[in-house]
């Protein structure tokens, strides 16, 4: 697995505060990676440093295997959705996107076509020629997301891409990002862990700008080693369950009647487990749903 970005011992100070304090992390190519961490953990600072907006105090950045950001090398190859950055108020979405596309090296007609296509994809076909000033917050956000995907850059950094969008647009944007994630490297910073779980292949945990551990989402949520059964009533004696499947560990949430079963797929495949457990449970109650793994939110909250 090659990496799109590697940062080593990165330090960024704001006065006496160290926003990044020797951060080392590698972002895999052609995958969607989520950055997760508390406020002030260094996610935004890391993104801004990678994009060349911030001057780091020490450490190395290797962007697309060609060193730190340099416009002559990386222009058109990376893009970013920066946080708290406004688009020029007097300009029009189409005009602005064409401008950005032209700067990335697209010809006049190609720039126009790409800008129109991408604005249509983010449901702004009817507002292409309205001023940015007249657009709602959510619409502006969609223009900001659209500009990231102009010209098919290799690496896209998205800082809180879905905040401020209505639920319908969140769903559309998720699909949009998922579709692109197969061919481009996308890094998403978000406090919405549901978004990270749905969109990302990998998650990097940032802790006080010091460490960032990279793990697959499936690994964290334990998709292959945890089944949760939502029941209508009590599953009966827990001792009996333990005796029935001694390889598994059972936990019952009595308030919600959710039975969690932790197992090792190598010792007990999920199909065999269900074949034994479900008939037993049906003797005493009904099963509403069966879900595999925990939510990313639950896992991360337990880590915090």
């Amino acid at each position: 697995m090659t990496n799109a970005v590697t940062t080593t011992d990165l330090v960024k100070k704001y006065g006496s505060t160290r926003a990044l304090n020797g951060l080392t992390i590698s972002i895999p190519n052609y995958a969607v990676t989520g950055l997760v961490g508390a406020n002030g953990a260094g996610k935004t600072t890391w993104m801004m440093s990678v994009a060349g907006f911030l001057r780091t105090n020490s450490g190395q950045i290797n962007l697309l295997n060609s060193g730190p950001f340099k416009p002559e090398i990386h222009c058109g190859r990376i893009s970013i959705l920066p946080q708290d950055s406004a688009l020029p108020e007097e300009s029009y979405p189409l005009e602005t996107l064409v401008h950005y596309a032209r700067l990335q090296g697209l010809g006049k007609s190609a720039a126009l076509k790409t800008a129109k296509d991408i604005l249509t994809e983010v449901h702004l076909a009817d507002r292409m020629s309205s001023t940015i000033r007249s657009l709602s917050h959510g619409m502006r956000k969609r223009v900001m997301i659209a500009q990231c995907f102009i010209g098919f850059p290799e690496l896209i950094l998205l800082d809180e891409p879905l905040s401020g969008l209505d639920p319908k647009e969140v769903a559309n944007m998720r699909n949009f990002i998922l579709k692109r994630g197969k061919a481009q490297t996308i890094v998403i910073s978000s406090h919405n862990l549901n978004d990270i779980e749905l969109l990302c292949d990998y998650v990097a945990f940032f802790k006080q700008g010091k460490s960032a551990s990279l793990t697959t989402v499936a690994e964290i949520t334990n998709k292959s080693g945890l089944l949760t059964y939502a029941l209508t009533g009590s599953p009966g004696s827990m001792k009996a369950l333990g005796a029935l499947l001694p390889e598994c560990t059972f936990t019952l949430n009595q308030r919600s009647n959710e039975l969690s079963c932790l197992f090792k797929p190598s010792l007990m495949p999920a199909a065999k487990l269900n074949a034994t457990l479900i008939p037993h449970l049906l003797q005493s109650t009904e099963i509403i749903t069966i879900t595999s793994g925990a939510t990313l939110e639950n896992q991360i909250m337990s880590e915090f």
């Binding site: 994009a51 222009c75 020029p88 108020e89 005009e95 700067l103 990335q104």
Partner: protein, 300 residues
């Protein structure tokens, strides 16, 4: 896309967005209104001066009296005013015989242009840094290309403003004075062009300072203070001409302010105008580049 094409692209975009900005629109309209009003007021004053002159010299009253013609050059007060305005005998000699309306316009645009530049352009870079909109461009082009492109776009914008005020002034002359010729319009355009060259170092100064702050208002205040500083230095140099001791510092400082070199642009000879233009452009690039140096590696 190479850097030059990017520069052209940024210049074009800057020009189009700047001309649509509310602030620019308001200031341009005010500037045009000021040009029209001043022209109208000056024509009134000159008409009176010309009529007085005819009476005083007991010249025969002709149809031309009160049309503000070149007759005014026979007036001692008018000559004194022009000498005072031009400050230099060579410049004065070049101005003698020019149409008074043309000279009013020239004085007007040279007087107001630095303020116009600061009010229209001083915030363009700092606002983009403050709002974060520079971040959408910073990974698509170099910071230098962006800065220089913004500067060129604003230069185009100021040029358009001066042309518009020239047209406004010509229309006033056309309405108020009989016998206004097309030649006057051409001459007004030439003065607009000269004033545009004169505006360039002030633009470089305002936009150079704009790199230093994230606030448009602060950048405008810095711009106003800096052009005031330029005029203080220029006036200091004028009043301490030939002085020795600490006062001689004004003579050195005056070399790097645009006002000192502006009268090259008032001359008739192409060589003098070219010298003035070279000074103006060099000063503009120096101011802009100094601002850019501070911005080059700062966090955005």
């Amino acid at each position: 896309m190479n850097s030059f094409s990017q520069l052209l692209q940024i210049t074009r975009y800057e020009w189009f967005t700047a001309i649509r900005s509310r602030r620019a629109m308001v200031i341009l309209l005010l500037y045009m209104a000021a040009a029209i009003c001043t022209m109208n007021f000056s024509i009134n004053a000159l008409q009176k001066m010309e009529q007085e002159l005819v009476k005083l010299l007991q010249l025969p009253e002709t149809e031309e009296v009160g049309v503000v013609s070149k007759t005014l050059w026979k007036s001692k007060p008018f000559q004194r005013i022009m000498k005072e305005v031009s400050r230099d005998n060579n410049v004065y000699d070049d101005l003698v015989g020019k149409h008074p309306v043309e000279l009013i316009f020239a004085w007007l645009v040279f007087f107001y242009t630095p303020l116009l530049v600061v009010l229209v352009s001083a915030n363009r870079i700092s606002d983009d840094i403050g709002s974060g909109s520079i971040r959408y461009v910073a990974f698509r082009s170099s910071r230098f290309t962006w800065s220089f492109g913004k500067f060129l776009g604003q230069a185009g914008m100021i040029g358009a403003a001066l042309l518009l005020s020239g047209i406004g002034a010509y229309i006033v002359a056309l309405i108020r004075l009989h016998g206004t010729t097309f030649e006057l319009l051409t001459n007004i355009f030439v003065w607009s062009l000269r004033a545009w060259i004169y505006s360039i170092p002030f633009l470089g100064l305002a936009m150079g300072l704009s790199h230093l702050t994230r606030s448009g208002s602060k950048a405008t205040i810095l711009g106003i203070l800096s052009i005031s500083g330029c005029f203080v230095i220029s006036a200091g140099a004028h009043f301490t001409k030939g002085a020795s001791g600490w006062k001689s510092i004004f003579a050195y400082l005056a070399t790097v302010v645009p006002d000192t070199h502006r009268f090259f642009l008032w001359r008739n000879s192409a060589a003098a105008v070219a010298t003035g233009a070279t000074w103006m452009i060099t000063l503009a690039l120096c101011y802009l580049f100094l601002g850019y140096l501070a911005f080059r590696r700062r966090d955005i």
